[in-house]
Each structure stands twice: as structure tokens, then as C-alpha cells.
Amino acid sequence: MAAITSSVPIAEAPASRRKFPFLLIALLLPMAIINFVAFVLPVIRLGMISFIESRSGGVLTNNYTLENYADFFTDSFSIELVSNSLLLGFGVTLITLCCAYPIALFLHRVSPKWRNMLFVITVSPLLVSSVVRTYGWMVILGDQGVFNGILMSSGIIDSPLRLTNNTLGVFIGMVEVLIPYMALSLIAGFGRLENVYEEAAASLGANSWTRFRRVILPLTAPGIALGCLLCFVLSISSFITPKLLGGGRVFLLATEIYDQAVIQLEWPTAAAISVIVLIIFGLALAVYSRVVKRFD
């Protein structure tokens, strides 16, 4: 009996195995080629440039050296860059998570009738370029901006609050830019969360805080991990919003790469910093996969 039933899939398997890889390769190849030519090769080239010795004025030599890295790690300014970037990355990610989590949870629970519309509203900021949104924040948060104007004319404050050209401005702008990405990732990772688990926990004696801590949070952990990874990477690599809202006074790895590559024309230095950023991303990815495994 068992032999008869099991013989069927065995007989079918070779046929499907012959047909399957061809289609699989045909579908995967275009993107694999693009990825190789436009990402893998440049990254290898970037790594090579980071070891090239340069003379003043950004002239590249044919000599390879570890000096670019040595310079970076011995300079207190670059250590400040790393800590600034990491603080921004962690801080922005945490605040974005706190802002987006209730939205995602609400969207997950709202009746399907409203869900699509509310979902579109949540991600609609993505329709406007983050450059334009950053300029919008400059208009709102500037010394003569809408926000300070309201506070001053209503007599709450006498002099404008410093909300731009500093780290606070960068935080505000970055969080707003990243909320849709965080919300999208969270919702994508909420698949396992069902109302019935909360009901089961309640029937076993868990109050609402315990239900959140012991049931909702662990079940949404994959979404949290994905959203945090994405926002961390985006906030560390973001360049336009810190540049504009930081007013040149907030120094980060991303802005330094730009300065070194475009203004100072020190490509090897820029490449070395880029490689360090890549390593930070690699570490973030490792943490992410551990978290996902842990909560699977």
C-alpha cells in the first residue's frame, strides 16, 4: 500500500527536475547578471581602491598600502564619525520603530474594508522624493519656519528653537523619511500575529501588558527585526537629509565619504570609509539573522 502511493511522486520527480532548473535559471539570470556587473564588481573595485596609495591632490599611484585604514583608525575625528553615525543609526531606528509600530499594529487589525486605503496613506510619503520632503522640513523647522512662527506668535517662546542645522533636525527629518519603510517591513513581518493568540493568553490569565510582552512582541519580532535592519542601513547610508537638515554641522560617515570623494578627490580615503560602512552593515545583517532564527 505504502509502496504504491510513494511510487507516484518518484516517477514524476525526474520530469519536473529536468524542466524546473531551466525556467529557474532563465528567471534568475537577468537580475544575477545586473547584480554582478553593477554591484559585485564595483564593490571589489572599491575594495581595491581603498588600498591604493594616493599623492596630494588625489593623484592615484600604482602602489598598494594599508595607510588609508591606518589613517582612519588613528584619527580621533573618524572615530567621532563612526560613533555619530552609529548613534544616529540606532537612535533614528528606535524612534522610527516606536512611531511606526502602533501604525502597523493598527493596520494589521483594522477591518479589510479600510486596510487597503489606510495602507496606501501610510506609504504615500514615498511618492514624494525624500529631497523634497527634507526641504519641506527645513521650511517647517527653520528659525523663521512655520513651527517656530506659531510658538513665537503665541508667546510660548521668545527666541526660535534650534531645530535645524543640528543633530535634532537630522533626527526629525530621518524619522519622518523612514517611517513608511519601517511600517511596510513591520506589516510584512506580522503574518504570524493572530487575534486568537491574545485571546488564548487572556484566558490563561495574562493582562494586556503581559499579552503584549509575551505574545504580541515575540510574534511580531520578525517584522521588528526586518524594519530595524532596513532603517539602520538606510539611516547610516543616508546622505541628503543629514546634509540639508544638518546644515554642514553634523558629521557622519556618509557625509564624509561624499566630502572625501567629491570635494577632496581623495578616492582611496573615501573607499576605505565605504568599506568600513560595509562592514558595519555586514554586522547588522548578522545580528538580524540571529534574531530571526531565535524567534522562528
Binding site: 504570524r192 493572530e194 486568537v196 493568540y197 485571546e199 488564548a200 493568553a201 487572556a202 484566558s203 490563561l204 490569565g205 495574562a206 493582562n207 503581559t210 509575551r214 505574545v215 515575540p218 510574534l219 519580532a221 524567534f295
Partner: protein, 374 residues
């Protein structure tokens, strides 16, 4: 006041003589919107240690009732007490009720042992005691040593048992089961039915069991409440429900039944087609009526003269229109002058087997025909 009520009820409910109502549902009502009554003025008393089955088609309000008892839904009106304790408006986590869901709802991120221990943890039970009680509960559901598995690594039946262990380990005052067997295959369902009943009786835990399956309700429960459109159609022992249905809905829903159109001619006489049959008309003396007869209560004999049949038996001549072999029974559809009777004959009781088109005589006892006014 309360004692007076009890005194009145005790003689009526034969099976629970001397038992006090442990779970009391008094006029509980759930209204949605302006006038949709999901559950309408339900009164049910369940004595301590008994298993109540709430039986009905989907949308009859049985699950809504269960969710109101569990506290997962607010009641619009009415009162729920457990052992005299009014829980009508307590939040679910303070009700001390064990709940088993239709899809088990085991926490997917926890192991089996963590699932079972969850309720103990909420009650602040110490680690060593909790470990012992979890193992004991898993042994009770015949899954000893399965504690380290994840729910997704287990079969449906095993998950079901874990859910039962998780609900029972907290030693709740009341156990609620929401269609617990409907996701299992037929063979497993039979086993689990017996197992759940056995555990329930061993622990003597008062239980409410929601099901749309009449076999489950009849075989497992001490009391069955048949629900229809938010109301309680009948509450009684399985035997009451099956043998003495109080209305047409119950007669039709519980077990297979022939429903025939007829007319009441006089007290205890109903006309169906051209013939008049003695039966119990429940005091009705006239008007249109529906008569219900169970297929297996009709006996079939080769056609013979009506006068040879005892006057105490109802009989009708008929012709076989269809023969369906089911295995344990053969089902004959018989045309008795305009109406079709479905009958069942056990294949083991050999007797006579009939062919399609064959003429025969259908006989049944007057008390096996229930007549309802319509």
C-alpha cells in the same frame, strides 16, 4: 428566592437530581447593531462536573455564547455566574476559565512545555511546581516527554491535546471547548471524543462544549442545548433531544429525520396523504402539521394485507424508488402515495432485501412519530 428556584428545577431535570447549578447563564443576550440578536435571552444552568454541549448550525449563536462566557465578548444583557460568583463583566484574564480553541491557538514561538506552563506562570506558580504540573498535564493527555517540541512539529491531534493540557493545567473552574474536534480527521475525532470525555469525567470539571456535530453532542454530553437563531430551542439530556424533540427544528437538526406534511384531524390523529395515523399531537386538535419519523424506526416487510398488521402500529403501503448501499445500513427511499419516506435497514439484520420498484409495507410505532404544528 434562589432555593425556591432550585426546588422547582430539581424534579424536572431527572439526570441531575440533587446537583446545584454551578454555571448559570441568566438571560444573556448579545445584540449587534440596532436589532440583530446573535444570542437572545439565553437561560442555561449547568450542574457541577457536568458537560453541556451547545449544538446548532453555524450562525446559531453557540460560539458567541461561549465567547461571552470566556469574557472575549461583552454581553449586551444578562448575568453569568460560576459557583455564585458573578463574572458577567470581569475581564477574561480574571475569570479563571480554561479555553480550547478550534484551531488550538498554541503560541507558535513557545515550546509545548512553555505553552502549558504559561497559565501557571501567570498565576505565579513556582518553577519546580510548574515543571511537575506541566509534566503531569502532558502525561494526562498522553504526551509525556513532548515538552521540548514546538507546536508546528506536532500533528493536529497532538496539538489538540497540548491545548487541552494548557487549559486544564491551571485547574480552572470551568472548561470551554470551541469546536475542538472539527479540524481532525474522522478516525482521530472518534478517539479524541472518548479521550476528552474521559478526562472531563475523571477531573469532574464543569465543561461547555460547542459543536455543530450532533454525534459529538449526543455521545459526549450530559446535557445538550440545541440553539437556533440565537435562541435555545431545547435543553435536555441527549436522549430527550433525540427521542423527544420539542420542536421541528430540533427534530430535523438532530439525527436524520423524515419530515412529512400533514394535517391534524383530531387530538392525536394526523392525516398524511390519504391515510390517518395515530400519534402524539401535543394537545393540538386541528391545523396544518409536520410529522417527523426517524428512518431507522420504520420497519419494512414484504407487502401484505393491512388488516394483518396490529392496530397499535402505523403502517403504509409503498414502493421502493431508490436503494442506496451505505455499508452498515441500506437506505431505501419509499414512495407512500405522494410522500417519500427514507428508511434504513441494518445490513446485519439480514431480513429481506428489496429491489427498486418493489412494493412493501412500512410500519412504525405511533410514539415514534413526532407531530409539530406549523
Amino acid at each position: 428566592m434562589q432555593t425556591q428556584e432550585l426546588r422547582q428545577e430539581t424534579p424536572a431535570a431527572e439526570t441531575n437530581t440533587g446537583d446545584q447549578a454551578f454555571l448559570k447563564l441568566k438571560g444573556i443576550t448579545k445584540r449587534y447593531g440596532a436589532d440583530y440578536m446573535a444570542v437572545d435571552d439565553l437561560d442555561i444552568d449547568v450542574p457541577k462536573g457536568k458537560l453541556l454541549g451547545l449544538l446548532g448550525p453555524s450562525g446559531c449563536g453557540k460560539t458567541t455564547t461561549l465567547r461571552m462566557i470566556a469574557g472575549l465578548l461583552d454581553i449586551t444583557r444578562g448575568k453569568i455566574t460560576i459557583d455564585g460568583d458573578d463574572i458577567s463583566h470581569k475581564p477574561p484574564h480574571k475569570r479563571d476559565i480554561g479555553l480550547v480553541f478550534q484551531n488550538y491557538a498554541l503560541f507558535p514561538h513557545m515550546t509545548v512545555a512553555q505553552n502549558v506552563a504559561f497559565g501557571l506562570e501567570m498565576r505565579g506558580v513556582g518553577r519546580t511546581e510548574a515543571r511537575d504540573r506541566v509534566e503531569e498535564a502532558l502525561e494526562m493527555v498522553r504526551l509525556p516527554g513532548y515538552g521540548e517540541r514546538k507546536p508546528k512539529e506536532m500533528s493536529g491531534g497532538q496539538q489538540q491535546r497540548v491545548a487541552l493540557a494548557r487549559a486544564l493545567v491551571i485547574r480552572p473552574r470551568l472548561l470551554l471547548l470551541d469546536e475542538p474536534l472539527s479540524n481532525l480527521d474522522a478516525k482521530l475525532r472518534d478517539d479524541m471524543r472518548i479521550e476528552i470525555r474521559e478526562i472531563q469525567q475523571r477531573l469532574q470539571i464543569t465543561t461547555v462544549f460547542v459543536t455543530h456535530d450532533q454525534v459529538e453532542a449526543l455521545t459526549m454530553c450530559d446535557l445538550v442545548g440545541v440553539m437556533h437563531r440565537g435562541k435555545l430551542a431545547q435543553l435536555g439530556t441527549p436522549e430527550d433531544i433525540y427521542e423527544r424533540p420539542e420542536d421541528l427544528f430540533v427534530a430535523d437538526f438532530v439525527g436524520r429525520t423524515n419530515i412529512l406534511d400533514g394535517e391534524i384531524e383530531a387530538l392525536d390523529r394526523v392525516r398524511i396523504g390519504a391515510s390517518v395515523y395515530p400519534c402524539n399531537t401535543r394537545g393540538l386538535t386541528a391545523g396544518k402539521a409536520k410529522a417527523a419519523i426517524r428512518p431507522h424506526r420504520i420497519s419494512l416487510t414484504p407487502s401484505r394485507d393491512r388488516s394483518l398488521v396490529s392496530m397499535a402500529t402505523n403502517a403504509a403501503h409503498g414502493k421502493v424508488t431508490r436503494v442506496t448501499y451505505i455499508g452498515d445500513v441500506v437506505q431505501y427511499d419509499i414512495d407512500i402515495g405522494g410522500n417519500t419516506l427514507t428508511t434504513e435497514v441494518h445490513t446485519a439484520s439480514a431480513g429481506h432485501s428489496f429491489q427498486s420498484g418493489e412494493k412493501l409495507l412500512c410500519e412504525w410505532k405511533p410514539q415514534d412519530m413526532q407531530v409539530f404544528g406549523s
